[in-house]
């Protein structure tokens, strides 16, 4: 007994083991702070690279649409307008579709197996690389919609949005391919937030005689609203930054036009197109455009996170 106690007392941790423990912890600490370093690095690098263009053109860069490397005139209005219009309009189409789908797979219209299959189908859509969607858009979607666009122009040509003759790739196609990309995001987040609404709310609503859709519209959807909003904002961030599919189908023209049926530009497609062969002050202007894009998506993302934190369901 005495012996055993003595053994116990001497059982101190070796110095080397202690040191390993400390080193391990600090390595993990350093690795986790890499995230902050990279994030800060991205903001600072893009900002400083755009500094030359920023000091030369100032805020005029944001509202003029001249982009002429020969004359050294740069303005990104067309691209900024394109980024905003494509992402907002695609979101406008995606929200009802995505939320409708989410409602369908959280209600019990069809057996659970089918709903799960539909849910994972939609999520698989998110796994398809955007460059493949772009390829598909060029060779399948564009010919498919051509007649429809001509119809749109002929009958609604008096609306500024449809005022140009459709010629191949255009902003409307980019909006449609964005809808395909955003659907899985909105659907899966809306589904998760609808699933989190407690059953007793639904039962209470049924109990006082509300019909199913009255319940959905007046009880379930309001309760899940913050989660759905956050998903919508995340989708908005994704839409603004989406590059490949949009670049391949939007037509890449810097000539400004209100019409969705004419070729357009977004900030990301401008970067994808010009970055490789740019030099001189064009590079700096491209960095300026990238900075604008980054700020836009950062603001949207941070707002989405704030929304989740502030209004997350606490039942």
């Amino acid at each position: 007994m005495e012996e055993k106690l003595a053994l116990f007392k001497n059982r101190k941790r070796f110095g080397i083991e202690k040191n390993i423990d400390i080193i391990f912890k600090n390595t993990a600490l350093v690795l986790s702070s890499f995230v902050a370093i990279i994030l800060l690095g991205i903001v600072l690098v893009v900002f400083f690279q755009s500094f030359e263009s920023f000091s030369r053109y100032g805020l005029k860069f944001l509202v003029t649409s001249e982009w002429n490397p020969v004359k050294d005139e740069y303005g990104a209005f067309t691209a900024i307008y394109g980024t905003l219009i494509t992402s907002f309009l695609s979101l406008l189409i995606t929200i009802p579709l995505g939320v409708g789908t989410a409602i369908f797979i959280t209600e019990d219209f069809v057996p659970k197996v089918f709903r799960e299959i539909i849910g994972s189908f939609v999520e698989l859509l998110a796994a398809i690389p955007s460059v493949v969607l772009g390829l598909w858009a060029i060779f399948v979607m564009e010919p498919f919609f051509r007649a429809f666009f001509v119809f749109l122009h002929n009958f609604f040509g008096w609306v500024p949005l449809f005022s140009t003759e459709p010629t191949g790739r255009n902003s409307l196609l980019a909006i449609l391919i964005l809808v395909v990309m955003l659907l899985p995001i909105v659907t899966s987040i809306a589904r998760d937030s609808l699933n989190q609404v407690p059953k007793k709310l639904r039962n209470a609503s049924y109990g006082i005689g509300a019909s199913r859709w009255k319940t959905i519209f007046s009880v379930i959807l309001p309760a899940a609203l913050s989660g759905i909003m956050a998903g919508v904002l995340l989708a908005l961030g994704r839409a603004m930054g989406e590059t490949m599919a949009v670049t391949m189908i939007i037509g890449n023209s810097n000539a400004f036009s209100w019409s969705l049926l004419s070729p357009g530009y977004t900030i990301s497609s401008m970067l994808a197109n010009q970055f490789g062969e740019a030099d001189g002050s064009q590079v700096s202007s491209l960095f300026y455009a990238a900075f604008v894009l980054m700020i836009l998506s950062l603001v949207v993302n941070i707002f989405a996170q704030w929304l989740v934190k502030k209004f997350s369901l606490k039942y």
Partner: protein
């Protein structure tokens, strides 16, 4: 009194039916593109698959009928994603370990978790722009400009948030009793993490990481001005410092070529890319479903 019975023609029941059909229409519209897309790629791309596809170099676009193969792009994608994983997995798992095991919910860990979410939302092309400014234009990698190594670094920025998040969440699911037991028998913190908590969270972490790799393999935007593209075979280690092709960039470049032969090659590359990404996704989904059923606590 009829009011106790279901009334087919009352406005509320008709309204309900209308909305139910509307939501069904939403589902159909949401699912149709996927079905069209996958079948089209499988038919159109699958028809192009030949043994030569995997062994030949692509021919530079021109009006010759034979486009060649996609060997350099296939190998390039493997190499670039491997580089990205070799950077993102150690950093991400290490960072995740700190968040889940060491941090006590203070302001630092909250800031890092917030940063992870923000980094996940940074547009992929910005990662390319960042690496271009940091590595390509400064020629910091032994004087080479566009290189497979730079492309891998750009991809690793996109993978990092996924890896940290899955590690953090996977470790949080490990019951605390396991940690207490290990610490109680006198194991140090790092032994506990390496021998007990990491192994028990291994499967969920691995699933998340593999999904992250699959996603990175299809990313194009960060590569188009970091790794650029190459038509030539990858022959040795030194090729890491030169332009490197990848399936994703091959699809982008060849989809925009006016020649039919190059377009066909883009379809074939899409077939391979989509098939591998979808099978990884489906496989890990099945695995996750199986684990959930046999979960022990």
């Amino acid at each position: 009194m009829n009011s106790l019975f279901y009334q087919k023609n009352s406005s509320r029941n008709i309204g309900d039916k209308i909305f139910t059909s509307l939501s069904l229409i939403c589902v159909v519209i949401a699912i149709l593109p996927l079905i069209f897309l996958v079948t089209y790629i499988l038919i159109k791309g699958g028809a192009q698959i030949t043994p030569e596809l995997f062994t030949l170099e692509p021919n530079p676009p021109g009006d010759d009928l034979d486009a060649g193969g996609i060997n350099p792009a296939l190998i390039g994608t493997l190499i670039i994603t491997t580089i990205a994983s070799m950077i993102a997995i150690p950093v991400g798992v290490g960072g995740g370990i700190y968040l889940a095991e060491y941090s006590k919910g203070g302001s630092f860990s909250r800031f890092i978790r917030f940063g992870v979410n923000v980094l996940a939302g940074v547009p992929s092309i910005i990662a390319g722009v960042f690496i271009y400014a940091l590595i390509v234009s400064t020629k910091i990698l032994f004087g080479s400009m566009y290189s497979g190594l730079a492309g891998g670094m750009a991809l690793s920025i996109l993978m990092l948030p996924t890896v940290i998040k899955t590690t953090d969440e996977g470790l949080k699911l490990v019951p605390n009793e396991l940690r207490y037991a290990s610490l109680g028998v006198g194991a140090s913190m790092y032994t506990t993490i390496l021998k007990i908590t990491l192994p028990s969270a291994f499967r969920s972490i691995a699933t998340g990481v593999v999904l992250g790799i699959a996603r990175a393999a299809g990313e194009t935007a960060p590569l188009i001005f970091t790794a650029l593209f190459s038509y030539y075979y990858i022959t040795g280690f030194g090729d890491l410092f030169y332009e490197m092709g990848s399936l994703a960039v091959l699809i982008y470049n060849f989809a925009l070529e006016p020649y039919d032969a190059q377009n066909q090659l883009a379809w074939a590359a899409s077939f391979i890319l989509v098939l591998s990404i979808l099978s990884v996704n489906i496989f890990s989904r099945i695995l996750a479903a199986l684990t959930e059923k046999t979960k022990r606590v």
